[in-house]
């Protein structure tokens, strides 16, 4: 990487201000085009037939009646998406999830699809497809799936990560162990120990825009895909691999995206739309219904977690351990291991051990959801930490401050930390007026910490200096929450020009080099690095052009405040040249001026947050209401503080919903009972108070401006903060999320009986 990422000690002019976003007017006037807002000539409409069974062998599929229906242009099954994975298990899982092969593995699993001239015809055709299922026993609960007599999803899965390898198959795909020290010795040294089991239910990212795409395959092998995605380059790669297309011939354009939170990092319907288009030789539009979104895309894991933590009477943790069991859906991944890595990341522990089990169940394939796997682990650990603090009679914040990780601490997932923000967020919480505000009747206060890694990745940007001196910034990381504004600020900062003179756009896959997805809180972190690099390259060219215009050596030209300056005694009286003046002469000084950048933006700083939550509980009904909420999080450097606050507030709210009401509810038949926004209860406007935020800026030493990712960490603490608040309000430890009214009321009744 050519970019010097050394942290600059500089006063910012643009970065840190709050200008309006470049896509604002389009979005408030209804002109912005999302996934379903695009059409192509001759476009067909697709519908996907989905399994009504949680687990069933597909004995046969008869599509003849559907194909015979007038207006139907293509019907596909797995035969039209042949296995090209060549031993790549991850790719095969993606393929099988997009279109079931021999077995349907969950309620909602795609088994066939239709493209027809309109939706009505497509729906009629879909209902004419005859699938002969042999219903198989199913399992959806994480603990039930681990039982020795559980129905098996596969008889070929033998838990990896265990020595010696098991000889009988199970639903546990992998066991992963992390940690350091000797936890048994650590527990022996403890005066007080807390040990408890926790459960969390499965939640969905709940983005308001359902998955939507328009696919168009041409007979010459070229293809176009318009799609709402967090990463159009990744979608291009996956679709090309799954369909056997040449990457260069598949052009993917990312629409405006109506939320993703990890759920739009995985392909679901896009390969199906392309396969339909290839068969029908017409463009195909595929828009999932809300029910399909819930049944067949993106949920996170349901979990079952045991935590044990010991401490001395003076408040020092001596050892901590956790066993984490995460559902993966039908395909093995690393969700429990991620939970195991993050579980104790906030603390400085001499002895720590975490074990993660990846559990296969008849639920949809788990997708990343904002700091994937961390919120559930934090719920369990932060609940136990609170309980332990109470047991030794220490204030919950003090106890955490005493045990917080800091620079030089060996993290529970292995590496030693550089400068980190957990201590400062805790100190800020301690000092925050919220922490000492009086509570009303039936109210409880809880606080909790959270951690997320953040990461960077492959990034490519173009920065074009236009003839009038304005700047077009083309980036390849999808803007999901205002990053075009942030990146324009960064370009303006580096070039020394006005924010208003920069226009950032998201380029399609044919017009820019590869970019990783907007995930892992990497969008602004990575693309700001690429933007800085591109700007510096453009400045280099502008210095050369100024030198040409002045007819002096380029070494004598330096860049400052958006102008080329002639340095030294010989050229001292030349008036500086602005970007505008240099751009105006570009045609005669060497042609267009642009800065390009291709880099790997590694070195994303880890991120910590501390949340404070006040809850009021109605002891007669178990109803609960968040009455005050504060988020304190380290941003490294907040490029556009309004959108940083927005990330904090949005993450907190998703976490509050997860904690209190959201859950996948399955019937005894293994079918999802609440695939809609009526009964999958995400927070509504009247459920919440204002969400206060406090941005801390502990610079990331690996970014020129100190930026850290900010998008994900904010969803990590709320489950625990809410649980601690409710537990404090009702005097009963709440260990099962969501903490719904029936669970609160049942806990109160148990406490009374006990």
């Amino acid at each position: 990487m050519s970019l010097d990422t050394t942290l600059q000690d500089k006063a910012f002019k643009s970065v840190g201000t709050r200008p309006t976003r470049p896509d604002g007017v389009d979005k408030v006037t209804g002109r912005a085009r999302y996934g379903a807002d695009f059409n192509m000539p001759g476009q067909l409409v697709a519908r996907v037939l989905r399994s009504p069974h949680a687990h069933a062998r597909i004995k046969s599929i008869d599509t003849s009646k559907a194909e015979a229906l007038k207006g139907v242009k293509a019907v596909i099954t797995s035969a039209d998406l042949p296995d090209l994975s060549n031993g790549d298990e991850g790719l095969f899982a993606t393929l099988d999830n997009c279109m079931a092969r021999d077995t349907a593995k969950y309620d909602g699993h795609a088994v066939a699809a239709v493209a027809a001239i309109d939706e009505k015809t497509a729906t009629a055709a879909m209902k004419l497809i005859e699938v002969d299922y042999e219903i198989l026993p199913h399992v959806v609960d994480v603990d039930a799936a681990m039982a020795p007599d559980a129905p098996l999803l596969y008889d070929t899965v033998f838990t990896s990560g265990i020595e010696p390898a098991p000889t009988t198959p199970s639903n546990v795909a992998n066991r992963a162990e992390l940690g350091h020290g000797d936890v048994e010795a650590g527990f022996a040294a403890a005066d007080v120990t807390v040990e408890r089991s926790y459960k969390t239910e499965q939640t969905h990212q709940g983005y308001i825009e359902p998955h939507a795409c328009v696919a168009s395959c041409n007979p010459d092998g070229t293809a176009e895909l318009w799609v709402c995605t967090q990463g159009h380059f990744v979608y291009r790669q996956k679709c090309a691999e799954l369909l056997g297309l040449e990457v260069s011939k598949l052009r993917v354009t990312s629409s405006e995206i109506g939320g993703g939170f990890g759920g739009k990092t995985h392909v679901w319907a896009e390969p199906v739309a392309l396969a339909l288009s290839r068969k029908a030789n017409r463009p195909v539009k595929l828009v999932m219904s809300r029910e399909e979104v819930f049944r067949a895309s993106g949920p996170t894991s349901a979990t079952s977690i045991d935590v044990k933590i010991g401490a001395t009477r003076d408040g020092r943790i001596t050892a901590a351990s956790a066993t984490l069991r995460y559902t993966n859906g039908p395909y093995a991944d690393m969700w429990a291991e991620l939970g195991a890595m993050t579980a104790f990341a906030c603390y400085d522990l001499e002895h720590v051990k975490t074990v993660g089990y990846e559990v296969l169940v008849n639920r949809p394939k788990v997708a990343a959801y904002r700091a994937p796997s961390a919120p559930m682990a934090a719920f369990a650990v932060e609940s136990a930490v609170d309980e332990l603090a109470a047991k030794i009679g220490m204030d919950a914040v003090e106890f955490r401050i005493k045990n917080a990780a800091s620079e030089g601490t060996r993290s529970s997932y292995g590496p030693v930390y550089g400068p980190i923000g957990i201590g400062p967020t805790l100190q800020a919480a301690k000092d925050h007026p919220h922490m000492n505000a009086p509570l009303g009747p039936n109210q409880g206060r809880g606080m909790a910490c959270g951690f997320w890694f953040n990461f960077g990745g492959q990034t490519c940007s173009d920065l074009n200096i236009n003839a009038d001196g304005t700047v077009t910034l083309a980036v390849g990381t999808v803007d999901v929450g205002g990053s075009r504004a942030s990146l324009s600020l960064v370009a303006a900062e580096e070039l020394g020009i006005d924010y208003q003179d920069v226009k950032a756009v998201i380029a399609d896959t044919a017009t820019l080099g590869y970019n990783d997805m907007t995930d892992g809180s990497r969008g602004t972190f990575s693309s700001s690095m690429a933007t800085i690099s591109a700007a510096r390259n453009a400045i280099q060219i502008m210095r050369e052009r100024a030198a040409t215009m002045w007819d002096i050596p380029v070494e004598d030209v330096y860049w400052e405040d958006g102008h080329a300056h002639a340095a030294g005694q010989n050229h001292g009286n030349r008036a500086p040249l602005s970007v505008k003046e240099i751009a105006a002469e570009a045609g005669n000084t060497g042609g267009p001026i642009a800065g390009h950048s291709e880099l790997v933006a590694d070195g994303a700083g880890v991120s910590f947050a501390t949340h404070i939550c006040d809850i009021e509980v109605d002891p007669e009904t178990g109803s609960s209401r968040v009455v005050r909420y504060t988020v304190i999080q380290d941003a490294g450097k907040a490029v556009h503080p309004s959108y940083v606050e927005g990330q904090y507030q949005g993450g907190a709210t998703q976490g509050i919903g997860w904690a209190l009401n959201e859950e996948y509810i399955y019937g005894a038949d293994g079918r999802l009972q609440n695939p809609g926004f009526l009964d999958y209860r995400i927070p509504v406007c009247s459920d919440l108070p204002m969400i206060d935020t406090q941005i801390l800026e502990i610079p990331n030493p690996n970014h020129p401006y100190g930026v850290r990712g900010v998008g994900e960490t904010s969803i990590v603490p709320p489950l625990a903060a809410v649980a601690n608040a409710v537990s404090n309000a009702v005097g009963v430890r709440m260990s099962h999320i969501p903490i719904s009214p029936p669970r609160i009321l049942a806990a109160l009744a148990d406490a009374q009986d006990g």
Partner: protein
């Protein structure tokens, strides 16, 4: 499928009595259009009754209020004397769905959808409201309680359509209230709903009462034991406890995605107490 917009209620009834097997009345459409989203839903005929004269009117008569079948719930709260007379009925109706749904949904639709959890029905049952029905055999009246016969089922015969809802005139010293429990603050289906309507004398003694429970049985329940607990009392703690016990005992809910049996039975009693207190206060009981 056909869409028809008749000009008279008789034409609407005639259309509904026609040969089509699956006919539906469209007023607010907030239940019907949701059902239409389902791939399994089929309809032969939809009869939009909103073009019929008077369907969207609220009339105050000597006997009470006549509310057209197509009056959106949002319009109820805008009617001052209706709200003053029947605050519980209006608050029940106004709890159905969002602001957007309020702009379309109707109490008659809520009734005919026959969901056990319908928010407007317990208060209407408590109010002893009646409906005017037009059908092939002419006109008839029925009490609201008689209309739903089970989840999704009504006692209306083929070709019958409800024209209006009738709320009786209020005796002096009367008040009503409706409370429901939902996990969120809005946008939920009632887990339990309680409507209480009562009249008090000048001494603050309850002289008559009706208590109705929603979402705890296949249809809304009118609980006589609950009313008996209130009548003759000044809503003292003992009366409220007896009321709560009667409601919890009368509730025969199921475990489902929205709540458990134990939760619903308990909360039915809690909400009954609170609703009774609100109705009593409105009646001028203190």
């Amino acid at each position: 499928m056909r869409y028809e917009r008749p000009q008279t209620i008789e034409d609407a009834a005639a259309l509904l009595a026609g040969p089509e097997a699956k006919s539906f009345v469209l007023a607010g459409g907030t239940d019907l259009l949701v059902r239409m989203q389902n791939d399994a839903f089929e309809a032969d005929l939809i009869v939009d009754i909103k073009a019929i004269d008077g369907m969207d009117a609220i009339a105050e008569t000597d006997d009470g209020f006549v509310i057209g079948a197509a009056v959106p719930c949002a319009a109820l709260a805008e009617h001052a004397s209706l709200t003053a007379a029947w605050p519980g009925v209006v608050e029940g109706a106004n709890l159905i769905g969002s602001t957007q749904v309020q702009g379309r949904c109707t109490m008659v639709g809520n009734l005919c959808n026959a969901s056990p959890a319908a928010d407007s029905v317990p208060a209407l049952v408590a109010a002893d409201a009646r409906v005017r029905i037009v059908g092939p055999a002419g006109r008839r009246e029925a009490s609201v309680l008689e209309i739903p016969t089970g989840p999704g089922k009504t006692s209306l015969a083929k070709g019958e359509v409800i024209e209006a809802l009738v709320l009786p005139k209020r005796a002096a010293g009367s008040g009503d209230a409706y409370l429901r429990f939902i996990p969120r603050t809005e946008m939920d289906i009632a887990v339990v709903g309680v409507g209480v309507n009562l009249t008090v004398d000048e001494a603050g003694t309850v002289t008559s009462a009706r208590v109705a429970l929603g979402a705890v049985a296949a249809t809304v329940l009118l609980v006589q034991e609950a009313a008996d607990a209130l009548v003759g009392s000044t809503l003292d703690d003992a009366a409220l406890q007896a009321l709560a016990a009667a409601c919890s005992a009368a509730a025969t809910p199921i475990d489902d995605k929205r709540g458990t049996v134990a939760f619903r039975k308990h909360v039915a009693g809690v909400l009954a107490r609170r609703a009774a207190q609100a109705a009593y206060d409105r009646a001028g009981g203190k």
